[in-house]
């Protein structure tokens, strides 16, 4: 540990102003601060600060998706590990280039995008598509807006949306039927070429043809679907942890799931032919994953509490409508992106009301 600190101190001058590698200062800074907390101190009041920083905040998200990642390993094989590595490598390159151009530190926000992105992809997607998707998402969805904190859209969802529109065939044909053996696919390496059980249909797609799989399969995750979204139980465990640590706001999650259940229930009662049962729909597809991990991103969701309720209701409603009344089988991605667009407007309205109330005070 001490030796590492010494090495860091020794190479520091090369990255400082006037050093040979000064362009790579953000990379060096990110590595240094990965290992050691920064040595900066407060200037003036307040003299002490809360221990929470962005690294910690973001690592909470990564910890909370661990159950989903493990479930993905179990159901879809170790190839998923490669997808994570590719996603991190490609996205980090874009992030690092932008940090160097801007001469800012590498932002921790990317570490979340890098792990969330492979989790919402079909498990046998070609690796180059993972790389293209995440690079597009980080570049267009985040960096063009000015980096983490200033982006309008969730970068992972932008990447996925791009892939779904650019390569619709591959995206809808890369599903994988999970193995029903005890060890799952833990010891398998499956990609598009050596798949023995090709399944092009997720439960939602099958439901459109009138085949409903059982809720217990959805709960466990032994169905086909995007790598991290199938196992409802793993998502709920991680999601509840995220809510308890207050990194994600419970209002968003409750309003999405609540409005989804309410509207889905009403429609199921009115049109039992087209709309499936509520509980089944809640656990199917990417709804839970989107509600817990995607929509709760503090940057792209509204900041006001009222805004969060409205935002959640919008997402829940749009998801029900897209799933049941359009040609798409899954609508969570589009619903959340739509929510992201409205978030600043909702905030603007609510801030306006609050500022007017403040202005009346003497």
């Amino acid at each position: 540990m001490k030796r590492l600190l010494k090495i860091i101190e020794a190479v520091r001058p090369t990255f400082e102003e006037g050093g040979k590698l000064r362009a790579f200062k953000p990379v060096f800074g990110a590595l240094e601060h990965f290992f050691f907390a920064p040595s900066t101190t407060t200037i003036g009041a307040p003299h002490v600060r809360d221990p929470l920083d962005l690294k910690r905040l973001m690592s909470m998200v990564i910890i909370s998706v661990v159950p989903s990642v493990l479930a993905a390993f179990y159901f879809f094989g170790l190839r998923f590990f490669l997808m994570i590595i590719v996603s991190y490598a490609a996205g980090l390159t874009v992030e690092a280039i932008f940090a160097m151009v801007r001469k800012e530190g590498i932002n921790e926000g990317f570490f979340v995008t890098g792990i969330l992105f492979p989790l919402i992809l079909p498990p046998t997607l070609p690796l180059w598509m993972v790389a293209v998707g995440v690079a597009f998402g980080v570049f267009i969805g985040k960096e063009l807006f000015g980096g983490t904190g200033r982006n309008v859209f969730n970068p992972a969802l932008v990447g996925r949306c791009f892939l779904a529109l650019a390569y619709p065939k591959t995206m809808s044909a890369s599903w994988l039927e999970p193995s029903y053996q005890l060890t799952g696919r833990l010891f398998n390496y499956v990609n598009a070429s050596n798949v023995d059980v090709i399944s092009s249909a997720t439960p939602l797609a099958l439901a459109k043809q009138g085949e409903l799989c059982s809720v217990s399969h959805l709960l466990l995750g032994s169905v086909s679907g995007s790598a991290g979204e199938t196992s409802a139980i793993a998502i709920i465990i991680g999601g509840v942890f995220l809510l308890l640590t207050r990194v994600a706001n419970w209002r968003t999650v409750v309003s999405i799931l609540g409005s989804f259940a309410l509207l889905g229930g009403l429609l199921h009662y009115a049109l039992p032919e087209t709309v499936g049962p509520v509980l089944w729909h809640l656990f199917a597809g990417g709804l839970l994953f989107g509600a817990f991990f995607m929509a709760t991103d503090p940057v792209t969701s509204p900041t006001t509490n009222t805004g969060k309720w409205l935002y959640g209701i919008l997402i829940g409603t749009v998801t029900v409508l897209i799933r049941n009344f359009t040609g798409y089988v899954e609508g969570v991605t589009f619903a959340i992106l739509l929510g992201n667009i409205t978030a600043p407007i909702l905030d603007e309205i609510i801030f306006g009301i609050r500022l007017r109330r403040l202005a009346r005070e003497g």
Binding site: P46, L52, L57
Partner: protein
Amino acid sequence: MLSGRPEGVVRFMPEPELLYLPLRSRRFVFSEVVVKDGQRVSNGDTLARDPDNYGVPLLSPRAGVVRLNKCENHIVLEEVAKDEEQVDMAKEELSHIERQMGAAGIKQYRLNVLGAWQFFYDAHTGALPDPLGTPQAIIVSTVSLEPFLARGDVQLHKRLSNFTRGLEQLQSLLEYQPIYLVLPDIKSEFANLIRNHIRGHALVKMVEIPLTYPYDDFSILARKLGLKRSAEPVWAVRTEGVLAVDRALTLSKPCLVRIVSIGGTGVNSPTHIKVMPGYPMQMIRDKYVFEPVARMINGGILTGELLGTEALGLDTECRGITILPELKDREFLGFIRPGWDRSCYAACYLSSLRERFSERFTTGLRGEGRPCISCSFCEEVCPAGIIPHLIHKYLYRDLIEEVEQARVDLCIECGLCSFVCPSKIDLVRQFIDAKRLIEQEKEEIRQERERQEKLRQEELARKSIEEGSE
């Protein structure tokens, strides 16, 4: 809950041989020195005045010989001796003033001359109110919640009768305006005791506030009580101020010593001490500070000012000294540690599973500066009800008018938003700067308007003269 909380006793410090009286404190600049170099003064004599703050005096806490040029920005008092002799105000002067101002006026004048007026605050602005003005109400606060300032209960210990007498004296300054007495629990035995003491004497309304920082802030209290900013000023005073009023008006004695807290994680035995202004910092440092590298703060941990090496003595407004160890060790892989040893605002550390414990704070920033991620923690903690992250974003885009509309002026500079910010943005510093900028702009506009008005008047006058001549 922090370690370094001062214990509830008052200790005495040894008598100093030299006193270093700073000519500057948080609100005052004693620029008008009224003593000569080498002059012998006794305790209670006025050494200097602040002409911008209604002539608030800097009193000599002890008898001694004045040295003016020994240290910069300090009046040094040599051959310090405890002088029991009572200084009386000149009778002639008093009667002259009494004729001018009446009975209430003379009291307020006495408060100022005897050094009790400096304990008064304008609740909305925090500045010194006009000693000869009439308030719409007085807020008396017995709690001070910022860690680690002198606590009201410690100051009140054994002085309850003085306190109630002080309340009555305050009441005598007023005609019908109410006094709001702020207590943590208005049903407690202590509150009942006060109630019994002041029964029939004073019109005092008791107000209960939660024991959470910063609910003792005067402007928050004034807003809560519905006292308007546009009406007459609201006077606010803390426990020590009421005791000073009692001393000045009942006993006609100057207020020379005060109870100051010594707290913080860099102190070996956090406590309260009874000292006089000008007490040498070095003696406090020698006795209480054990950390080799420590930051001394004049005031609390969240709003206090840095005490540099140039500060040689305690200033007249000091309510507490906080000592924080400087950050020494850089934590290895800090963000993956469970963090049993720290408690944070969000429950992101497993320490939230533990019972309450005291954490050892240092001056570390504990993170890197990053752009705002709109987590809205600052909004949740803001006691003034404004939206810090929104104002921050306006400031980032230089939208000063929007900042003003977002009521940055309501900010009480409590520092909580900066404290909780995970992006380590120094929000409160930005707000203080923005407030100053807005004030400046307003002042400029006012001056410009005045100038134009003057020009117009001159023009009119010239025209009327011309017309007259025609």
